[in-house]
């Protein structure tokens, strides 16, 4: 039975990809130090989360059958500390949370006296001023066609009747996430990691994660990088336009590598001089009011905070002009589109070259197959004819043979 489980359930856009990359690439080192990060592929915990929450995800869910049971069994088998981390777990319902905790060996109230697992819940959190535009951009990178304005309307619908609003608050409403995940845990086993404000030391967030996960004392390699890069305003607008005209025709297995990876992550995210996505100035008041209520509630609950709850306030509205992604600067969108076309052309050329290489390889293989199926006698005859035709006397001998056979088998 595992003694401790560090269960990191979100939230999205809080440096989770980097953390998970470090954990995945260091899993052998961690295991030598009695810390298990049970994953045989990078997205193992994502698949487990899909399985737990019965979520469709563009066909990936087909690979998730039984993934949570497998993960929880690995955790139970490890006698030491285990780490589970995926940000979409934040949206789990109460019944799914109960199933997850029970499967990890959690006892009611977090009782560990009879061998129950000591579950620590970790939630990394970032201010809504950055989370709201980041979530819209994440939607756009997942085929969404609605504009930023529509997104803001959907998330302000008090009924949360639309799936976009329901999902947004499911993974972003910190007190509610902790109501669902932390209701049966002592507050000292709930750890909030706040993402520092923009402009601080780049190491500060990792230091906070290290503190929360107890990784600071461990021997780890931190040279890896798996960031989830962000896009500027014209680049986000371009991807949205592409979604509007092409997403329906592109099945998920092609959309992911071509639009999300090639265009968004590998091409457009490099354009860092364009205007960054931000919260519209008129949205700051309600965001501020809501955040204040969260900070008051979280302070009252007495959780372990790594960082500062005031980080959730976010930066004040910038004094410069806000750029609306629903009405982006067209010259910049056109420039981004040219970059996108160039990337697609290069990728297409590479695919053509690869096709040609494979075609040649296939042709060689086909010839070898024909040769392997040709009887030995036939091959001997071909070899003999070839040798005879390479010398004058040989050709004369062949001529005599062909006349004797009464027909000419030479090629025309």
């Amino acid at each position: 039975m595992s003694r401790r489980v560090l269960l990191h359930v979100g939230t999205p856009k809080t440096g989770t990809s980097y953390l998970q990359d470090v954990l995945y690439k260091n899993r052998s080192r961690l295991l030598k130090q009695d810390v298990s990060y049970p994953a045989d592929r990078f997205d193992a915990h994502f698949l487990a989360a899909l399985d737990l929450m019965r979520l469709r995800w563009g066909g990936l869910e087909a690979e998730a059958v039984g993934a949570w049971d497998k993960l929880s069994a690995q955790v139970r088998e490890h006698d030491g500390t285990s780490i589970i981390s995926h940000e979409i777990l934040a949206s789990a319902s109460r019944s799914q949370v109960a199933r997850a905790l029970a499967s990890l060996g959690h006892r009611p109230g977090g009782d560990t006296s009879d061998g129950g697992t000591e579950v620590h819940l970790i939630l990394s959190v970032r201010d809504l001023v950055r989370q709201i535009p980041a979530e819209w951009q994440e939607n756009v990178k997942h085929r969404a066609r609605f504009g930023y304005g529509r997104f803001l309307e959907l998330i302000q619908d008090p009924e949360r009747a639309h799936r976009v609003g329901a999902w947004f608050w499911g993974v972003q409403e910190i007190p509610d996430i902790l109501d669902r995940w932390g209701a049966d845990l002592p507050p000292e086993r709930v750890h909030l990691v706040t993402v520092p404000p923009t402009g601080g030391s780049p190491e500060l967030l990792w230091d906070r994660f290290s503190t929360a996960f107890g990784l600071a004392e461990l021997d780890l390699k931190l040279t890896t990088q798996r960031a989830n890069p962000s896009l500027g305003v014209p680049e986000s607008a371009l991807i949205r336009r592409i979604n509007r005209v092409a997403a329906r025709d592109l099945p998920p297995q092609h959309y992911r590598p071509l639009v999300r990876e090639l265009l968004a992550h590998r091409t457009l995210s490099k354009r860092t001089k364009s205007a960054r996505l931000g919260l519209p100035p008129d949205q700051y008041p309600w965001v501020r009011e809501l955040t204040d209520s969260w900070i008051a509630e979280l302070s009252r609950r007495g959780y372990d905070v790594v960082g500062d709850l005031q980080d959730l306030q976010g930066a004040p509205a910038p004094s410069g002009k806000w750029v609306d992604p629903d009405h982006p600067p067209e010259r910049q969108v056109a420039s981004a589109a040219v970059d996108a076309i160039k990337a697609l052309l290069l990728d297409n050329a590479e695919a053509h070259a690869e096709n040609e290489r494979l075609r040649r390889k296939l042709e060689v293989a086909r010839r070898e197959l024909v040769r392997a199926r040709t009887p030995r006698l036939m091959r001997s005859m071909e070899w003999t004819v070839h040798r005879l035709e390479s010398s004058g006397k040989g050709r004369q001998a062949l001529e005599v043979y062909r006349k004797a056979r009464g027909r000419n088998s030479r090629p025309a």
């Binding site: 019965r54 087909a62 059958v65 319902s93 799914q96 009924e159 007190p175 109501d179 049966d184 025709d249």
Partner: protein
């Protein structure tokens, strides 16, 4: 105590009550003890009340084990998770465990929830039942079945292609009669019908195989793009068959009797007749089922469980909204032209590919309706699809 009142309502629902939450007594007479650590969500409670109504209409009561299944069920797919009951744990009221009650989605009146919300719970429960059937091995064919299915040497070589939903059923039926498809240089029988029927069957087939798009979404995605989906593109299927078997051996089948005569069987088999609401329920159940069984098993399981149980139910097949009439006619004429130009032999009349004239009895387009889909789901919750039913269905067939 609002929580005790809620638990009293839960206990009454378990016993078969159909009283709405807002009509539940507030004077303390309807209070009860907690039955679990957490109150079930409003979706689960609303579904149980609807199930009680459904059972009562049939003169039955919901067994307690089924009621408990509903109360303990999860909510599948994207959207709101379990919702709180209005009037319980609202700000200013005390709550037993952990949370403040002021965060999360607004509490709701369960009766105000849309049928779609209840279907998210119901389809997950039906998927659980279907998944249980997966663990049961197929029954061994009887001696009679084995003898009947032995390939007769005098049967001509043939394959069945075309509309996948129907072709599967025709192949299975012919195999059971000893006419196993295959053999050397086979004749390829390409099954076709009027294009609207072909489209409906393409959507049906997709719902069983992959799930995903609603009928409206399926039509809009294809008609909007100006294309026929691959499973409904009869001309493309014919070209593919011609490439594989030779154009001279492709026969377009528009009259079942003529194909049956050629093969020497009394008639061709037919797939289950599922109405629009039934197919939509299969689509919804397929989503959570996709996380319970391997994807290659899902179509067969759904066919053998829901396909059998919903045969002949779920209303009429869906129809295309009138706005796509022109598109449908254009595509049908193009298909007819392509098949005629390729000079494939035709069993029947190629004009049958063209859309049927609108019947006078039909007042408007038929599309899946959530209330009807939910009604079918309630029937499946009351009499769950079981492994026994699956094997029984096979034996009856």
């Amino acid at each position: 105590m609002s929580r005790r009142r809620a638990w009293g309502w839960v206990a009454a629902l378990r016993a078969g009550s159909t009283t709405p939450w807002l009509a539940w007594p507030t004077d303390g007479t309807g209070e009860g003890d907690a039955l679990a650590a957490e109150l079930p969500g409003a979706q689960q409670l609303a579904l149980l009340r609807r199930l009680n109504l459904h059972a009562a209409a049939a003169g039955r009561t919901v067994p307690t084990d089924i009621a408990d299944r509903v109360l303990g069920a999860g909510v599948s797919g994207r959207g709101r998770s379990e919702l709180a009951l209005v009037g319980v744990d609202e700000p200013g009221q005390s709550r037993e465990a952990g949370s403040s009650g002021q965060f999360g989605p607004r509490p709701v009146d369960p009766d105000a929830l849309a049928d779609d919300e209840l279907l998210r719970v119901a389809s997950a429960l039906v998927a659980d039942d279907v998944a249980v059937a997966a663990a049961v091995p197929d029954p061994e064919p009887s001696l009679v079945e084995r003898v009947r299915s032995v390939r007769r040497p005098w049967v001509r070589s043939f394959v069945v292609v075309g509309m996948p939903w129907r072709a599967d059923a025709v192949r299975a039926d012919l195999t059971a009669r000893g006419h196993r498809p295959g053999g050397r240089r086979p004749t390829a029988y390409l099954l076709a019908e009027d294009l609207e029927t072909v489209l409906v069957q393409a959507w049906t087939s997709r719902c069983f195989d992959q799930g995903g798009a609603t009928w409206r979404g399926f039509v809009r995605a294809n008609a909007g793009a100006g294309n026929l989906p691959p499973r409904a593109d009869v001309a493309r299927m014919a070209r593919s068959a011609a490439y594989k078997y030779g154009a001279e051996r492709v026969r377009v089948v528009l009259d079942d009797r003529l194909m049956a005569d050629e093969l020497g069987v009394p008639r061709l088999g037919a797939p289950p007749r599922l109405g629009a609401h039934a197919v939509d329920l299969v689509r919804r159940v397929g989503e959570p089922l996709g996380l319970l069984v391997a994807s290659e098993e899902r179509p067969r399981l759904l066919r053998e469980t829901l396909g059998e149980r919903l045969d002949g139910r779920g209303g009429p097949p869906p129809t295309l909204p009138p706005r796509w009439d022109t598109w449908l006619r254009t595509q049908a004429e193009r298909t007819r032209h392509d098949l005629a130009a390729a000079r494939y032999p035709v069993l029947g009349d190629l004009d049958q590919l063209l859309p049927r004239p609108l019947g006078s009895e039909q007042s408007g387009p038929v599309v899946p309706v959530d209330a009807e889909v939910l009604s079918l789901a309630l029937g499946l919750l009351l009499d769950p699809v079981t492994a026994t039913a699956r094997t029984q269905g096979k034996e009856d067939a």
